[in-house]
């Protein structure tokens, strides 16, 4: 039973509920929001303060209204009829005051006061609702900033990548590409230092006095990179043995030929020696 439109002015609304003839009555029945609303409208039509309204007179008007509606065969919701019955009862008790009200029941005056109070309260809430809806509303009467400037969330992106990541990526990427594209390269030949040292140690006692380093190289390690590796490893092995006092090494000038002498079979000589330290 709700009005189709927002009606913010209740005085305006209630004026539509005043019934002068049968036609208006029909309109009024449709317009009421229940029996209390009907009672309030009737009360307001008495044009006196609701606090001082005559409940007897109001009950008469209400019952009259219901009778009129019945005559017109208007369908009335049950709660209108309940209110009518209650008002008829209240009216009878108000007209014929009893000395005592039935057990546990309020007196007729108390019932009238309660009804009056409920009408006042409904009236007050109607007014409050008018006040509320009369307030300036956002985006209808008052406006916020039409073109707000939003907060820009700037992502401060930092990267965790380190030099390690960079070099790993470079090395693995490049090795992978080349590995896939070119033939699988042979491992370059290396004469390991340990190998050279073992070999030299086996030769100790058999190395002739001041032998050139070249002559101590294994025979199958001649030529190109194989020879270079053999020279380097054998020299390093000689240096290690010299440190251990097992050989002496001599070189007369930078890049000159290197000579090696076996100290295990030769007493310490007075030759010019260069001992690496």
């Amino acid at each position: 039973m709700s009005a189709p439109d927002e009606i913010e002015n209740f005085d305006e609304f209630q004026s539509t509920a005043i019934f002068a003839d049968d036609q208006a009555l029909r309109v009024a029945v449709d317009g009421f929001e229940g029996p209390l609303d009907l009672l309030l409208t009737l009360a307001r039509n008495q044009k006196v303060d609701i606090a001082k309204i005559s409940i007897l007179k109001l009950a008469d008007q209400y019952l009259e209204f219901i009778e009129g509606a019945k005559k017109l065969n208007l369908e009335l919701a049950a709660d209108y009829l309940v209110m009518a019955a209650w008002l008829a009862y209240l009216k009878s008790r108000l007209i014929l005051p009893q000395e005592k009200s039935p057990e546990g029941e309020p007196s007729a005056d108390e019932m009238a006061t309660r009804l009056r109070w409920r009408l006042q309260r409904l009236d007050a809430m109607r007014a409050a609702s008018t006040r509320l809806m009369g307030r300036e509303r956002l985006d209808r009467d008052v406006f916020g900033r039409g073109d707000p400037e939003p907060i820009n969330v700037v992502k401060l992106r930092t990267y965790k990548d380190t030099m390690y990541d960079l070099l790993t990526a470079y090395a693995t990427d490049r090795v992978r590409r080349l590995g896939g594209k070119v033939y699988r390269p042979q491992m370059a030949p290396v004469l390991h230092i340990e190998e050279a040292r073992e070999r030299l140690e086996r030769m100790l006692g058999r190395i002739s006095d001041w032998s050139a380093l070249d002559r101590l190289l294994p025979l199958d390690w001649s030529g190109g990179s194989r020879r270079r590796s053999a020279v380097a490893s054998t020299l390093l092995a000689c240096l290690e043995l010299a440190r251990d006092g097992k050989v002496e090494i001599q070189q007369t000038a930078p890049f000159a030929e290197i000579f090696v002498r076996d100290r295990t079979s030769t007493p310490v000589g007075d030759a010019v020696t260069t001992s690496p330290n």
């Binding site: 929001e33 409050a128 609702s129 307030r135």
Partner: protein
């Protein structure tokens, strides 16, 4: 002196109140003005404070700003405990916009909203008692959908009915600092119309966002036991 200069002089005179004098750092004032101007939503003191330099006296700045803008075309308003610049209400005639998209509220919905606002926390039965008519389900649904009301708790009475209250969006829409700022609230209270019964010395319920003395926080569906053992709730009530 020009009329504009006169207006500014008025602002200045108001600004000379000693309370704002010390605290309102003009650079901070510019900042808070910019923040509030830029925002699309009301801002609370806490979020303003985090955006301003440390030590900025937000309450003093807000007070200063409110005074500066008091007579202007744009005013600083406090809604739902937050701050927002809004066009002056007397200029509504200039700016008013009809909003066809917003559902027009029925008389029943408007009344229900007003009752919920003033009587919160309030149950459906209490609303029906005030209006003297059974409420159609759609009314509450519609107000909930608009976002103006919410279920806020349960009443410690038999059946433990849910209680309704208004939302922050309601306060923002109607330009209210809090529900305690509803116009005419004091008169309604004084007349006893916010009480459940005719005045006879019962305590006066105030509309409040805090849980009422006979209200429990809303936790969704009630456990079935509670519904079955109405007697327990009766004892509690």
């Amino acid at each position: 002196m020009s009329s504009v200069a006169k207006m500014i002089e008025t602002i200045e005179t108001e600004m000379d109140a000693p309370t704002q004098e010390m605290a309102a750092n003009p650079e901070h004032l510019r900042m808070i003005e910019a923040l509030l101007f830029a925002a699309s939503e009301p801002l609370d003191q806490k979020s303003l404070s985090t955006s301003l330099p440390e030590g900025a006296d937000v309450p003093a700045l807000l007070a200063a700003l409110e005074e500066i803008y008091q007579k202007r075309g744009v005013n600083l308003c406090c809604v739902a405990g937050k701050y927002q610049f809004r066009t002056a209400s007397d200029l509504a005639f200039l700016l008013r916009k009809e909003q066809p998209e917003q559902k027009r509220l029925s008389k029943a919905a408007i009344e229900t909203l007003a009752i919920i606002a003033h009587h919160q926390p309030v149950t459906r039965a209490e609303i029906e008692d005030i209006r003297g008519v059974a409420m159609s389900k759609g009314t509450i649904d519609m107000l909930m959908e608009i976002g103006w009301i919410r279920i806020r708790g349960r009443k410690r009475t038999p059946g433990r009915p849910v209680t309704y209250g208004t939302t922050e969006a309601f306060l923002v829409q109607f330009g209210l600092e809090s529900v305690a700022h509803l116009p005419g609230l004091d008169e309604l209270k004084a007349a006893g119309f916010l009480e459940a019964m005719p005045p006879s010395g019962f305590d006066v319920p105030n509309p409040s966002d805090a849980l009422g003395p006979d209200e429990d926080p809303y936790t969704g569906e009630e456990p079935e036991e509670d519904l079955a053992t109405g007697s327990v709730n009766l004892d509690e009530a």
